[in-house]
Structure formats: C-alpha cells, structure tokens
C-alpha cells in the first residue's frame, strides 16, 4: 500500500516535471531564431567558402595538366643584379608582381654589395616567390662614380657572373630542364615573354622595345632563322642584342663552364662576350612570332629629385631614416 502510494506520487511528480520541462523546451525552441540569424551568416560564409573551394579545385584540375605535363614545366631562372638606391624597393616590388604570375620561376637576386642588405632580405622573404639571395661587390675601379654617364662602365657584370656560378654549383649532379634569363630590375616584362622563353633549347632571342636609341631592336628572321640584326648602333657586333633580348638553356650554361660576361669588353659587347662562347647566329631560336612582337621594354626610372631632402638634412630636419623607402 505504501509502495503504491509512493509510486503514484512519483509518477505524478514525474509527469508534472516533464510537462514543465517540455513547455520550457518548446519556449527555448521558439527563441532559437535569434541564434539562427548568426547561424545564417555563418551558413553564408560556409557556402561562400564552399564555392571558393569548388572554383579552386576546378582551377587545380585545369592547371595540373599544364603544370605537370609530360615532361614537367621547365624552370625559368631569372638573374637580377640590383644595387641600393632610392627606387630599389619600388623596382623590386613591381618586378615581383610580374614574377608572381609566372609558374615555375626561380628568382636569383644578386646585390652589388659586400653583404646582404636587410631591405632586400626582408623584401624577398615576404614576396611569396621562390628565390635565391646572393651578393658580390663590384670592385671599386669598375664601379660608376657619381657624375659618370651610364654607358661609361658596364654594370651588373660581377653580379650576373655570380648568378651563373651559383647555378653551376647547385646543378653539378643534375640535368634539369631549365632556362636562364637576365632581367634588370628597371625593365618591364610581359607575361607572354616567359612562356616564349621557357622551351629554349640553346639560346632564344626576341625584340626589345625602347633600346639602342630606337623604338625597338630586333633580330631579323628569314625562313625561321636569324640572318642579321636590326639595330641602330654598331650592327657589326657578333650579337647586337640587349641583355633582356635573349635566354639561355641551363644545359648550355652547364656544358660551357667557362662562359661568363667579360667586364673588360668594349662598350656594347657585353652580351656578345657571353654568347660568343655558347652559340652561333645560325643556331639562335627566334621567338615572339618570328621576332615581330615586342614583349619586353628597356624602361628606365628617373632618379627622384631630393633637393628639399638635402636642404632639410642640412638643417637637421631630414625625414625619419627608420622609415624604409
């Protein structure tokens, strides 16, 4: 009897509690809409992310065939000599934006300096590019002094040779399918240029805009072969080309370990001093639609006028040198 009584009370208690619990829960469910708003925002974010993921996957599928064809994409090694001056960071910045759009590119930056500068080191590590940072100082007697015209002494010779030396050292045991290109930091390069040079077998050539005192300089092609060069200045040179107008296959560089740029060569013969030992004119591979399109321009950047800065410095009021320009 006592038991039954207890059970009955228990049941009644239980049902009452459950009923109140259910009502409470239903009210809670009703209030869920508040959290749902936040959830919708999250849902939107998730669906956007899903969309992005889908498009990225599609891009991967599209790119994989071109990125890893049979054989894989040859690497383009770009050797850029650089030196400290006001516009250096700006030049390297906009150059890196172009290089970031080129697949399988390895940037070899060689500073004209006895040691690596923090400006270039920091810049390269944040650039997002595959890079090698080298440095070699030009000996004093070969360096342009303040007030010297640009053409008086050749520039970047030791740095380019240093880049070649590094390539030969790191590729001692490998035969990588690759191309070497010398890109100065103030020129302008189109993206198509890199695709033209990528499949170079020996040495490929193409026109260069705004060089040699002309709108462009170019090799003249007849029946698929280079027969002569269209240039306004000393066309009798073995290779009257600009540094930006040719690319060399890495294999050729490795097979000719003595080939390098000669700083003592007469003005305008720098490129010839290197190419002479590698190839003859008949062997050149013409690119850029048989050398009829300009895909690279020999632009030069003005030296910024610092008159006011110099005046301020004299008064001890120069701009904060800690702020990197």
């Amino acid at each position: 009897m006592r038991l039954r009584f207890k059970l009955k009370t228990v049941f009644i208690l239980y049902f009452t509690v459950s009923l109140f619990g259910l009502i409470y829960a239903l009210m809670q469910l009703g209030q869920r809409c508040d959290c749902a708003e936040r959830d919708f925002a999250k849902d939107h974010a998730i669906s956007r992310l899903r969309g992005k993921r889908h498009s990225l996957l599609e891009q991967t599928k599209k790119l994989e065939p071109t990125k890893n064809p049979k054989p894989p994409l040859p690497t383009i090694y770009v050797i850029t000599p650089t030196y400290t001056r006001l516009v250096q960071k700006a030049e390297l910045t906009r150059l890196s934006h172009t290089f970031l759009l080129v697949p399988q590119l390895h940037w070899i930056v060689v500073e004209d300096s006895p040691h690596k500068t923090s400006l270039v080191s920091d810049f390269l590590s944040h650039s997002g590019l595959a890079f090698t940072h080298l440095h070699v100082a030009t000996p004093r007697e070969r360096k342009l002094q303040e007030g010297d015209p640009n053409w008086l002494k050749p520039r970047g010779v030791e740095q380019r040779n240093e880049g070649l030396r590094w390539l030969r050292e790191t590729n001692r045991n490998r035969a990588e399918d690759a191309v070497v290109y010398f890109a100065d930091d103030d020129n302008t390069y189109s993206l198509q240029l890199f695709e033209e040079m990528r499949w170079t077998q020996r040495v490929s050539v193409w026109p260069v805009g705004l060089v040699g005192g002309m709108r462009y300089e170019r090799p003249v092609v007849e029946q698929g072969r280079v027969v002569r060069f269209h240039t306004g200045w000393r066309p009798s040179r073995p290779f009257p080309l600009d540094m930006a107008g040719f690319a060399v296959s890495l294999r050729l560089v490795l097979v000719n370990p003595e080939a390098r740029f000669d700083g003592d060569a007469p003005m305008g013969f720098l490129e010839s001093s290197f190419l002479q030992s590698l190839v003859t004119m008949e062997e050149l591979e013409p690119k850029a639609d048989m050398c009829t399109k300009v895909l690279v321009w020999h632009t030069r950047t003005e030296k910024p006028k610092m008159k006011r800065e110099e005046a301020m410095l004299k008064q001890g009021l120069g701009s904060d040198p800690a702020i990197e320009v």
Binding site: C35, R48, R53, A90, H97, L129, G209, R215, T301, E302
Partner: protein, 360 residues
Amino acid sequence: LEMPKRRDILAIVLIVLPWTLLITVWHQSAIAPLLAIRKACHHLVKEIFIIPERLAVRRHRLSDDGAEGRHEAGQGADSKEYCSSDKDIVEVVRTEYVYTRPPPWSDVLPTIHVVTPTYSRPVQKAELTRLANTFLHVPNLHWILVEDSQRRTPLVSRLLRETGLNYTHLNVETPRNYKLRGDARDPRIPRGTMQRNLALRWLRETFSPNGTQPGIVYFADDDNTYSLELFEEMRSTRKVSVWPVAFVGGLRYESPKVNAAGKVYGWKTVFDPHRPFAIDMAGFAINLRLILFKPQAYFKLRGVKGGYQESSLLRELVTLNDLEPKAANCTKILVWHTRTEKPVLVNEGKKGFTDPNVEI
C-alpha cells in the same frame, strides 16, 4: 513478483523515453548546427590551404606583425582564428595566390575602383603592362582607364582585353591649348584632370547613392609603383583615408601628421604644408558613397596652383578631422611616386628607322 517486475520495467521505460526524445530533439535543433558549422569551417579552411600547396604557391599573410605564411605549422591554430568570425573567413580567401588571373570575385569585399588617366607615348604600353601585372593580384579591383585621346586606341583596348581584368575603358581629349602652354589667358589644365573627372562622372552615372555595392575610389597614375598591401589598407575606408607617398615634394616621402589619438592634424611636407590637403594624388582613397552623395565635387580644371589639385576635390568632400590614417598610422611606405625616363629615340632619325606597324 512477476507482475511488479514488468510494471517496474514499464515505469522505467515510460520515465526514460520522453527524456531521451527531448534530449535528442534539443541536441539537433540548438547545439548541433553550431558545432557542425565550426567543423565545416575548419574543414574548408584546411582544404583551401591544402589546394595551394598542391600548386606550390606560398601563402602570404598581409598582417602588420610581419608574420610569414606558414603551411605546416599552426594550420589548426590558423583555422581556429579564421573560423571564429566572418571577417577572418574572408581574410583566408583573399590572401591566397593562385596561378589564375585575376583572383575570383568576392561578394564580401568592397570593390576598389582604380582611376588611371593615360596618354599615348612610347612607354605607355610598358607602363600599363606592369601596372596590370600588379592589379592582377588584387581581388575585387575594377580598373577605370581613361585615355587622353579623341577616341579609344586599339593598343589600349587590346591590352585591357588580354589582361583579363575587370575594366572600363573611357576617353576624353584635353583641349590642345590647355595641354601644352601655360599663359595668363589660357591657364594650363593639369594633366589627367579631365580624365579623372570623366571617371567620377561615369561612377556617378553608373552607381546610385542608394545602392548597396560598397566601393572605394583610388586615383592611380600609370607610372607609379603600388604595393599589394596598399589596396588592402584602403579597402576599409569609410570616408577618405590617407597614407605616406615616397619621392614626392622633393623628399624621400611626404606624409600626413598623425597625433596620438590617431587623427590627422597636419602635413609633413616642405612644399607648402599649409595647403588644405598637402597630399599627392596617390596618397588618398575615397569611399564611393561619399563621391555619390556629393555629386558636385570634381577636380578644379582651371586656376589651380601647382600642388593644389588634390585639395580642389578633397575640400568639397571631407574635413581634416574626418581623414583616416592608414599604413600603421602613416609610418609605412606602400606607394612610390616613380617616374619613367623618356626614352631617347635618337637613332630613329627623321623618317623613322623601325617599322611603325610593330607596336611597342
């Protein structure tokens, strides 16, 4: 004993069943979505990081503390950061470099309308090419290129089409007398003014002030150099934001003066620092809404003293107090006022040595 046992079992079942049902329903409705969303978010973030790895692309995080992109370490930590708020999720998507151009359009990021006046000269194609190579990295960028010409040139049309960028191609010719000479009767219109004004007019005709498309307007000349970080800094502009510019005013850089409260109170320049806005064209960006709400604001065409061009527009839009300093309170250089040398074409001679049909 048999009967009570069965009744007991029945009683226990009756007690437990509703509670189980209640707990299941509760779990499904309230808690699970949140957890599921978090899980999905983490999963997707991981995927987005993994895909670029396959493409051998470096992840570049545009943060001020200089942290480099890391793939392996801290992926879990990164996704937690990114999944905690919507803003961070967007951050993930837009700082990835992929070998397609340009980056996919996002529904969340404000569009940056970049107004570039340009004119025909030998270096034009080169300048526009390297500018385009920079813009191809910036998500949600709309390039408004305005030629100083009688009609749109095929060189520019073709270039714009081949880049794949989102663009608008306009043109307006600056009247000849105003372009070259400057005398008292025919005061010179500063170069690019009419072109920039045309772009402003186009924006006002295309977008309505009541529209919901957020946008930022930036005037970018075709020979300057822009870092990618600059565009992310200007994206959060509410009215007008400002930052330092290198190589202007005869200095290493010119900069707004920012006080401890983060407000602009002056200009650190040597050339006429008392101008209302002593800033270069490349040193500020304006929220599109402000342009649309003040439809009378344009760059002044005539009678503008050297260096006062920017002020002629900005003073109609905003006061000094409203300016938002960017680039770490105006202590970092993110844009350089570079100038390209005019190429010396001595060897062309009078008749021209090279084939004029070859485009440079």
